[in-house]
């Protein structure tokens, strides 16, 4: 029995950070303490507010609607799935604020930073609380704009360039979303997040495609990931934490809502519906696989710490997309894939935010991002090293840490799907999954070795004072990683399985999940295989220096696909349009090409000598001389053969004008005949 609680709390939770953002901007710039305290209190308050909702969402959903808003209404509804996202978001935001206290002491314009950070929080909460796709779209667009300001916070050339790529790609995504919801509204007559697959008819494929473009851009699925690496390396460290930990989840949330709720048959569904669902899920899984392998390979080849993590983020989101894909194409039996994906969302939020924070702390203290200029930080920053190791073991999927649990669930779901359908492609996908796991370990080793091991470069050989608030955040991340790893079933049984029960998965399928034994021989064996494979890849490759290879710039997707496309549009299409427009303008131009007045004025300018201004009589002199010269010119001009060309004569009219006059005359003649 689903209970609906009608309350304005979701609206307050969204408005509170937004209004805080505006308020913080109104306080004077030099009162940073106000901003810090305000940021702390409000982020804590949002976190508590969201957690306070837990008992309600476990019983049902929280709903509120402003029906008169923009003619379509603004609706919020929070169910358990939204709640899981919202709680992760507010938790990480609180930790980001802690990190920002340390980071922003060194950067410029903290007032704008805090202000837009909170505005972004409001927009993100709005997206995950949205009760229909219209509200979703509104907050999605606001999120794009406000996060843009965060990305370009440094305001140097690189960040502005990276920022505009980020902005334009996200605007394209937003327009795709707008198109999708327009089509959806046209077909189904509403924008609620309920199953509507039967009503969509032939439009289902375009709508799904448009949704996927939008969310693919937001989370950086291949080939829409091109904005991510430059934007991650240009943004300030706390913002990279927000982008990797939180904003990519917004896109995932969209995919989840669309593919697992919207694109489901309302009752039963016909065979063709289920075939469509299977195909879309299967393709989504493969996009996820390509993204996880591609991201991991690219991460291996980077030498910038943030870029490694950016590609790692792309790769890990590929895991989630693959899991969702499995959940979709398994139809009613996709509960395991879904819980695995949801679990990985939670884990990824924690460990990726953690890793970015740790790299951010290293950057904060050393101002270095390049692996070749870093090293030996293990001795200088023991706390960062310990927490980094714990978090990295989490992302690598080592038993006892959080990544292991979700990866095992995802892997299990894939094996189950293979058993169920016996399609060879799924088996291949499962192998790729293992390889991606191994590659993940490889780039983590590379990152760890580059930053923390080896000799300390001379320039960096000094004592570092760890910022207190950032240290607290680091410890919290490490505890979360360990906690989930040690008690894997707690989160699964309390939150994720009730979350899965909200969808249309069969009860039989969900009953299997509680008490899933993570620490039996089979999963551990898989983890061991992954580690061995990783060592097998890493050792020879690093000995031969393969990881230092930089791919030629033409090989990137940007150079291969997007730039030629853009050049085609800009150089060809727009130039053609412009040339035509100019030709059209000339068509109506004065048929007498040269203008007497033009001649006059240009000669007057020649006469004026700046030196004349020195003398008192300059004005008089110029006017007299100009007049003389003008008269002279006039006489010359009327006597010259050019005057003949300028007079209103038929032979002086341009061909275009004659043609125009002719057409007009014909029309008038025909009309005259008719009227009579």
């Amino acid at each position: 029995m689903v209970v609906t609680f009608n309350t304005l709390v979701p609206l307050y939770l969204v408005l509170l950070p937004m209004l805080t953002g505006i308020l913080l901007y109104l306080f004077p710039k030099d009162r940073l303490l106000i901003h810090k305290v305000g940021a702390m209190v409000v982020s804590l308050f949002s976190m508590i507010g969201v957690i306070w909702l837990l008992p309600y969402v476990l019983q049902g959903e929280i709903f509120c609607g402003l029906t008169k808003f923009m003619e379509l209404g603004l609706y919020f509804s929070i169910d358990l799935i939204s709640w899981i996202f919202a709680s992760l978001i507010t938790l990480v935001y609180f930790l980001v604020i802690l990190f920002s206290f340390s980071y922003m002491d060194q950067d410029h314009n903290p007032r704008r930073y805090y202000s837009f950070l909170f505005f972004t929080l409001g927009a993100i909460l709005g997206v995950v609380f949205a009760g229909d796709f219209f509200s979703f779209f509104i907050f999605f667009e606001i999120l794009t704009l406000s996060s843009f300001v965060l990305v370009i916070h440094k305001q140097d050339r690189d960040s502005l360039q990276a920022g505009s790529l980020y902005l334009y790609m996200n605007i394209i995504g937003g327009l795709a979303l707008l198109f999708a919801i327009l089509l959806l509204y046209d077909k189904s007559g509403h924008l609620d997040m309920i199953p509507v697959l039967e009503e969509l008819g032939a439009q289902r494929l375009p709508i799904l495609f448009l949704f996927m473009i939008c969310f693919g851009i937001k989370i950086g699925l291949v080939p829409f990931h091109i904005w991510a690496p430059p934007a991650y390396s240009a943004a300030p460290s706390p913002v990279t934490v927000v982008m990797a930990g939180i904003m990519s989840k917004v896109g995932i949330y969209g995919i989840l809502r669309v593919s697992l709720i919207l694109f489901r048959p309302a009752d039963g569904g016909s065979v063709s519906d289920w075939i469509f669902i299977f195909n879309s899920g299967y393709i989504l899984m493969w996009i996820g696989i390509v993204t996880m392998i591609g991201g991991a390979l690219m991460a291996l080849l980077q030498s910038n710490t943030r870029r490694i993590l950016a590609y790692s983020s792309i790769s890990q989101v590929g895991y989630i997309a693959a899991g969702l894909g499995v959940a979709v194409f398994m139809g009613l039996e996709g509960a395991k894939g879904f819980t695995g994906a949801l679990y990985h969302i939670a884990n990824h939020t924690v460990f990726k935010a953690g890793l970015f924070t740790m790299i951010g702390v290293v950057y904060l203290l050393t101002h270095e991002l390049d692996l070749s200029r870093l090293g030996g930080m293990a001795r200088k920053m023991p706390l960062v090293t310990v927490t980094f190791v714990i978090t990295a073991l989490g992302i690598a999927g080592i038993p006892g840490f959080n990544g292991f649990t979700s990866k095992i669930l995802l892997h299990n779901a894939m094996l189950e799907a293979y058993k169920h359908y016996d399609i060879y492609g799924i088996f291949v996908a499962e192998r790729f999954f293992i390889i991606a796991g191994a590659l993940t370990i490889c780039y983590l080793i590379k990152l760890f070795k580059g930053v923390f091991l080896g000799p300390v470069p001379g320039k960096l050989d000094q004592d570092y004072k760890m910022p207190v608030s950032a240290s607290i955040a680091l410890v919290v991340y490490a505890i979360l990683v360990l906690g989930v790893g040690v008690l894997p079933n707690l989160l699964l049984e309390r939150l994720l399985i009730p979350g899965a029960q909200l969808l249309d998965f069969s009860a039989y399928n969900i009953e299997h999940l509680p008490g899933f034994d993570f620490y039996e021989w089979f999963p551990l064996q898989k983890a061991l295989v992954v580690v061995l494979l990783a060592l097998f890849i890493y050792m020879p490759a690093s000995a031969r220096g393969w990881f230092d290879w930089t791919p030629p710039s033409w090989l990137s997707i940007q150079k291969l696909i997007f730039e030629p496309l853009w050049n085609l549009v800009l150089k060809f299409l727009f130039r053609e349009i412009n040339v035509n427009d100019m030709a059209l303008g000339q068509f109506y131009e004065h048929p007498v090409k040269e203008n007497l007045q033009t001649e006059y004025l240009s000669d007057m300018e020649v006469v004026q000598d700046p030196a004349d201004d020195e003398t008192g009589q300059s004005a008089y002199y110029i006017s007299g001389k100009g007049l003389d010269r003008g008269r002279h010119l006039e006489k010359d001009f009327y006597c010259s053969p050019r005057w003949d060309q300028c007079k209103w004569r038929v032979e002086n009219l341009g061909f275009d004008t004659l043609l125009f006059a002719f057409v007009l005359a014909v029309i008038l003649f025909i009309a005259f005949l008719y009227v009579n």
């Binding site: 327009l182 349009i577 029309i667």
Partner: protein, 499 residues
């Protein structure tokens, strides 16, 4: 308010500004301050009088009153219905703000004693167009407005302005002749040109098509429709900025208004659709939208870019007119409101920048937001609304137009709208983003750069801020008067548009 009072109010609304013209002229020799005040008072009174008509119109009241006949059945008459009222209200509102803005703006310029009388005369004739009761009266006011506004276009008297003005004049005369020809044909075929009789021409013969094409040339020329838009990007930028705001924000709409009247009063939706004339309009609208947006992208002069953007935006209205169903008409009328507000705001802000710094080219506008934060904030809000970012008003009109196109199964139109939105983003954001975020000088210097606010005086700032606030309110507010008016207009027009 009964009908007789309404007629009086309408007459006053049209002729009060025209009567004030000579008074302003004589006053301006004696005191410039008095002249400014009188001009603002005139437009304010006009606006308030228009507002008094609101209850009458909302109740469904319609005025159709004939004063006298020039020839049998060729009348001089006035008309007020919800469509006229919508345009009259927005026109007089923008005019008031623009006049207020002019006070400080024109203090720096020459020829104020010519500018204000002409401005008021144009106001009267523009409202005359919207309140005319038949095509002939409309034509008279249309020509008056077009010719008088020539003086506004060439106000700067530079070579460029004179050239643009010449182009404008030639095109206006061509358009006027075509319009007159269309009216003659309509009169010949239907025996009347009044708006009060429903559709005048009910059969789509060739000669009727000729009339339609003549109307299309006449009004389309004014609205900046595709092959006839060439005067617009020359004439709008050279005028003084408050006048550009009016040219782009209000006077373009007279063309769109004329097309509304042509489609619903001279012909009817059935005539349009059975003879596929709506496709003619649709093709022209699509080309107008794409061309306006694409060419705007390559302009480097700020006001020229805005002028081309106007071309594209009027294409939206034409698109709504070619689709001709409920949502599309709501979208078209609401877009007239939105575009009037947004584009005037943009032109006023551009004018403020030019007035303060003398910078016209977009590449020079880096970090202008530090000097003039309020102006640029207004500019940004209006530009974001143009792109169609929710919850600003521009989004609502795009959404409604898109729904209308989908109702008519014209997915292609939606794609055009979205491409145009993307192009809008591509030409507006490169103005906004550097204005706020570009560093001047090297990095260290840039970080140390203090916010040095040197914004324009409040009389110029206030109109922009009001317009920017309305851009937000007309998107967000639960009581959305323009949208309700658009809905009423749509109902009214779909029921025939004359009783």
């Amino acid at each position: 308010m009964d009908e007789a009072t309404a007629i009086t109010v309408i007459l006053v609304v049209i002729f009060f500004p025209i009567i004030m013209t000579p008074i302003l002229m004589s006053v301006s020799d004696r005191s410039e301050k008095l002249r400014d005040i009188l001009a603002v008072v005139t437009s304010a009174i006009t606006f308030l009088l228009v507002l008094t008509l609101y209850p009458f119109v909302v109740r469904g009241g319609i005025v159709q009153h004939t004063f006298f006949e020039i020839l049998p059945n060729l009348e001089i008459s006035i008309r007020l219905d919800v469509l006229s009222f919508s345009l009259t209200a927005i026109a007089s509102f923008i005019w008031l703000l623009s006049t207020i803005y002019s006070i400080d703006y024109m203090a720096k310029e020459h020829g104020g004693s010519r500018y204000y009388p002409v401005l008021m005369f144009t106001l009267g004739s523009c409202l005359g167009i919207f309140l005319a009761g038949d095509f002939f009266t409309l034509f008279v006011f249309f020509e008056l407005m077009s010719l008088i506004s020539y003086i506004l276009v060439v106000h700067e008297e530079t070579e460029e302005a004179l050239k643009a003005g010449y182009k404008y004049l030639v095109m206006t005369i061509i358009g006027g002749l075509a319009l007159f020809f269309g009216i003659i044909i309509t009169f010949e075929l239907g025996g009347t040109v009044s708006f009060g009789v429903g559709s005048i021409i009910e059969e789509g013969t060739l000669i009727a098509f000729l009339a339609f094409m003549c109307f299309l040339i006449g009004f389309g020329m004014k609205a900046g429709m595709f092959p006839l838009h060439v005067w617009l990007p020359d004439a709008h930028p050279v005028a003084p900025s408050p006048a550009s705001a009016l040219l782009s924000g209000v006077m373009l709409k007279t063309g769109a208004y004329g097309l509304f009247r042509v489609i619903f009063n001279a012909f009817s939706i059935e005539v349009m659709q059975t003879n596929n004339w709506d496709i003619v309009l649709g093709v022209l609208a699509v080309i107008t939208i794409l061309l306006g947006s694409a060419v705007a992208l390559t302009q480097n002069d700020l006001k020229r870019r805005l002028a081309y953007s106007s071309v594209g935006m009027m294409g939206y209205v034409l698109l709504g007119l070619s689709v001709l169903n409920e949502n599309a008409i709501i979208g078209a009328v609401f877009h007239i409101f939105c575009h009037a507000i947004m584009k005037s705001c943009l032109f006023l802000a551009a004018g403020a920048i030019i007035w303060k710094t003398g910078k016209r080219t977009i590449s020079e506008l880096g970090s202008i937001g530090r000097e003039m934060p309020f102006t640029m904030a207004c500019f940004s809000i209006a530009a974001l609304a143009m792109i169609g970012i929710p919850p600003l008003s521009g989004f609502l009109s795009k959404w409604t137009l898109g729904l209308g196109a989908l109702d008519a199964n014209a997915t292609f139109y939606v794609i055009v709208l979205l491409i145009s939105s993307l192009l809008n983003a591509l030409y507006y954001l490169p103005i906004i983003v550097p204005a706020f975020f570009e560093m001047v000088g090297d990095e260290e210097q840039g970080h140390a750069l203090k916010l040095s606010v040197q914004d324009v005086p409040p009389k110029m700032l206030a109109p922009m801020i009001i317009l920017a606030i309305f851009t937000v309110i007309f998107g967000l507010s639960p009581i959305n008067v323009p949208f309700d008016l658009s809905q009423m207009t749509s109902d009214f027009l779909l029921k025939g548009g004359w009783f």
